[in-house]
């Protein structure tokens, strides 16, 4: 067996375990929370009163505008100076949630606004209130366009969780770096990590295809290869 294959096989369980223990939960939790936050932010920007709109815009501006790594640093190393000492995992979770919230809010805002006005009117005309119109008429139509960009965000997240290593979360990539430290084979180990990331994202890509199919089944648009 060649050296590199041996190395990959030896390191595989370690990496996988780090992935299962930290990367996956961090990804799933921060996506769930982040998407909720994104929806709230998007709705605020579209329909909220001006002060809230300004707050929402400020939030999106700061979070999108500064590096995630710095945000994690501030949460983990900076907040203690004002008396907030968070553990690494919750700190990472907060950082990623804030991030997903900001990015996804832009996507959600765009797709909500892309549903023709007449659909709101149709919903109102049968007596729906705003909430019902949103939930039953607008979002299901908006979802069709939202799935690919949101899954971009989701899939980026999977890999961005590696930044959590900077604040001491021993996730997948960190595990790879540990092995590199003793084997001096960064390329092999990183490719190994990449393969596991690829496997995780493939699950999401498959989900994306399913959702796209589901939300598009009502037709009215291009029939196209995918």
């Amino acid at each position: 067996m060649p050296h590199w294959l041996q190395l990959m096989m030896d390191s595989f369980p370690t990496l996988l375990w780090a992935g299962v223990k930290f990367t996956v939960p961090l990804t799933l939790l921060s996506f769930a929370f982040g998407l909720t936050l994104g929806l709230i932010t998007a709705v605020t920007r579209l329909f909220g009163p001006t002060p809230l709109v300004l707050i929402a815009r400020f939030y999106v501006w700061v979070i999108r505008g500064t590096p995630l790594l710095v945000q994690l640093f501030v949460i983990f190393y900076g907040l203690p100076s004002v008396g907030i000492l968070l553990d690494a995992f919750p700190a990472a979770l907060i950082g990623f949630t804030l991030n997903i919230g900001a990015y996804s809010s832009e996507i959600i805002r765009a797709v909500i606004a892309s549903v023709p006005k007449g659909q709101w009117e149709a919903a109102y005309s049968i007596g729906m209130n705003w909430r019902q119109a949103m939930a039953r008429t607008i979002l299901p139509q908006a979802a069709r366009v939202a799935v690919p960009p949101l899954s971009n965000t989701f899939i980026s997240l999977v890999k961005d969780t590696s930044l959590a290593a900077a604040i001491t979360v021993p996730e997948l990539f960190q595990a790879a770096q540990r092995i590199v430290a003793t084997t001096y084979e960064p390329l092999i180990l990183y490719i190994q990590a990449a393969i596991i990331y690829l496997a995780l994202s493939s699950v999401l890509s498959a989900l994306q295809v399913r959702l796209e199919k589901r939300f598009s089944r009502y037709g009215g648009m291009l029939e196209a290869n995918r």
Binding site: G118, Q119, E121, A122, A123, Y124, S125, I126, G127, M128, N129, W130, Q132, R136, T137, P140, Q141, F215, Y218, G219, G220
Partner: protein, 257 residues
């Protein structure tokens, strides 16, 4: 039932509804007729507040709302009016992500909280009435123009609104179907639903309307009993408009009849 007083509606600088006052009696049918761009759709949309009038007062049943430039209208008041009105849109506005049946069921299930089976049964009944029984599970994007329009009518009827606003409800229907749909609407009117119908189909209008309003450039040119407005219009303008059809009828297939 419905009372509009001094309603104005501006889009930017453009005054589209210019000081219209109108009374619609409970259970009556009012036809809004007039040239394209006259403001029929806008007036209908003002009644159920899809457009917020620039100024004026709207009374619908017990709900009264006064409008003035810059004045915000409470959501509750709006909702109160919308709950009592149904609307058939000029361009249908079906929910594309719901089948024909689901389009009709939507309000029953979501707004009136009917159990699904009951809503399903009612929706089927209505779709059958408008001749759409065979397309119950079709997506709107696969329906022909007239089929979409009939689903839209069924969707509005489903909610049994006290007031039904119809914007050109037969524009995409062939004469046979139009007659059938008109029949359905007449029956509804007879049962006490108040209706306001914007239409350029004067036959439809004269057939079902008690009252006719001739709108041009956002102003009411003439209004009164439908028979009188269509049969013996007072104003020169109205006369010309009404006669344009008789002219068409006489010069066209009318000869053949």
């Amino acid at each position: 039932m419905i009372e509009l007083s001094h309603i104005r509606k501006n889009f930017g600088d453009l005054q589209v509804i210019d000081d219209i006052s109108l009374k619609v009696k409970e259970g009556s049918v009012t036809a809004l007729v007039g040239p394209s761009g006259g403001g029929k759709s806008t007036l209908l949309r003002c009644i159920n507040l899809l457009e917020i009038p620039t100024s004026g007062t709207i009374r619908l049943g017990e709900a009264v709302i006064e409008f003035a430039p810059g004045k915000k209208v409470g959501w509750d008041a709006v909702q109160k009016i919308r709950r009592q009105t149904g609307m058939v849109f000029q361009n249908f506005q079906l929910f594309p992500h719901r089948t024909a049946l689901e389009n009709v069921m939507e309000g029953l299930v979501t707004v009136l909280k009917w159990p699904r089976e009951k809503a399903d049964a009612r929706a089927r009944e209505l779709l059958t009435k408008v001749g759409m029984a065979h397309k119950i599970d079709a997506w709107p994007s696969t329906l022909s123009g007239g089929q979409q329009q009939r689903v839209a009518i069924a969707r509005a009827l489903a909610m049994s609104p006290r007031v039904l606003l119809c914007d050109e409800p037969t524009s995409a229907l062939d004469p046979e179907l139009a007659t059938e749909v008109v029949e359905v609407l007449s029956k509804l009117a007879a049962e006490g639903t108040t209706m306001v119908i914007a239409t350029h189909d004067l036959r439809l209008a004269s057939r079902v309307a008690d009252h006719a309003v001739f709108l041009e450039a956002g102003k009411v040119v003439e209004q009164g009993a439908a028979d009188r407005v269509f049969g013996a219009p007072e104003h020169e303008r109205t006369r010309r408009f009404v006669s344009s059809i008789s002219a068409a009828v006489q010069s066209g297939y009318g000869e053949g009849i």
